[in-house]
């Protein structure tokens, strides 16, 4: 069975993949209010990711959710670097990169920057 990770593409991320073949995989979500890319994850890798990040889970649509922000950021970086979905997953699951993600994730549990949005 295959699962998916959805990487949301904000303006900054869209700009980074503009003109590459990745751009063609970007899909509109909620009538185009958001854009994102689905990354397929096979069973074995999904299990590994769930073990590495105990709070993560598979939602009712088969997406791996509740992943650390740093994991998704690094996955996007790897995707932008390699241009290949499978390679991107392998890159973030390499021990040294994974260790770095876990360290960042531990800090995330303490503090996440508040978005710079003016409150009403």
């Amino acid at each position: 069975m295959s699962y998916r990770i959805l990487i949301i593409l904000d303006d900054k991320r869209m700009a980074r993949i503009k003109g590459t073949k990745l751009e063609s995989y970007a899909k509109g979500i909620y009538a185009g209010c958001l854009r994102g890319i689905d990354i397929d994850v096979d069973d074995k890798r999904a299990d590994f990711i769930l073990k590495m990040f105990p709070r993560s889970r598979i939602d009712s649509m088969g997406y791996i959710e509740e992943l650390p922000v740093s994991f998704k950021q690094e996955l996007f970086n790897a995707l932008a670097e390699s241009g290949d979905f499978s390679e991107a997953i392998d890159m973030v699951l390499k021990p040294d990169r994974l260790q770095m993600i876990k360290e960042k994730a531990a800090m995330e549990d303490e503090k996440l920057p508040v978005p710079n949005i003016k409150l009403k």
Partner: protein
Amino acid sequence: MEFILEMPKPYGGRLVEAVSNNKEECAGCPSLDINSTIDMATGIPIRNAYREIMSIAYGFFSPLDRFMTREDVESVISERRLPEGWIFPLPIIYDVSEEEIREKSLKEGDRVQLNLKGHPFAYIDIEEIWDVDSKDLAARAFGTPERNGEVLRKALDQKHPGWQIYRNMKNRAIAGKVKIINEPKFRDPYNRFWITPAESRRIFKERNWRTVIAHQTRNVPHRGHEELMKEASFCGDIEPCNAILVNAIIGSKRMGDFVDEAILEGHEALEKYGYISQKRHMVSFTLWDMRYGSPLESLLHGIIRQNMGCTHHMFGRDHASVGDYFDPYATQKLWTKGLPSYGFPDSPLNVDKGLSIRPVNVGEFVYCPICGGMVYADTCGHKEAEKFSGSFIRGIIAEGITPPDAIFRNEVYDVILKWWAKYDYPFVNRRYLERKEEELEVYF
């Protein structure tokens, strides 16, 4: 035509009201400090018995008026009923250590004063002191796959927050009736939403709300929740329900859940900005450290909201659930046709000493770009309709991306940002749970 429904009686016939504000009732009694239950593996507070005392003493758990004896607990685990026959789904235990019993020379028949944050708060008249086998308790409190395989898919374990609460209990328990002798005050914003069952019943009458549907929540509302509340309220009898009672469960939660203040103010924002009329909407809370017991938890929710005066209760997919321990539709099955292995050959409405509150089982809401908004999945015929989940929304919020108004009201997102700025984090984390125990909820 005649109206069919009216406010149900409190479950068991009368509301428990055990609050006196007379500290003299404990003069000369031995005293114990109420401490949090700590997850021994992580050191994080996961429950505080003061919340159960409040819920018992103010009648949310009526007819339960006490911490349970060994016999009560065995009856609850085997039949999901108190020995008197009233439905009660989960053990409510005041656990203490052997050292506490010894140091205070506690014995059956004693009245023991319970101190909260260093102040006299309540007492228990000790009916029984008994041994707690927390391992056995955790293994049986929610049923077992062998016995309850109709909906329980696998044994609960250390990843389940309710299992953790029972597993981390101390090895002795004191059982008996409780009474509050010194009411704590709620901090802002909780104080705006503290409505006891006696008070909610009074308000319903005052506002001429004959039929009220309860919405259980542990979430900041997204547009799916909002539509669910609006559409479910159309049940009623010969007219839609007169009002929606949002009743949030406030207490220790899973890491990653929304913080309690944002849940309450998020729901408040829906009425404040007119998305649900104040004439038909009220936000409140019950103190309880969620056990995530899915169908069992739904029975407790039914008891609480019947006691608050509601005629109906919404039950969705994965009600009060976590992980994949329970069938996602376990709660709806229980309220529709019963769960025999848990002692319910029929719906809890149709059994001896059953509940009166009526279930409204609801499906999923999805976003449909063709319809132009949130729609009920079963009635929308467009293949373009898009599902979304709470975890998806939490994910984009954590990434700092503003959720589109189509799935999340801007005014509700503002509430999240407000509390995010206060705690440097949008969700429950370790620091939040520790601070909550020390300072965030109540004071004297």
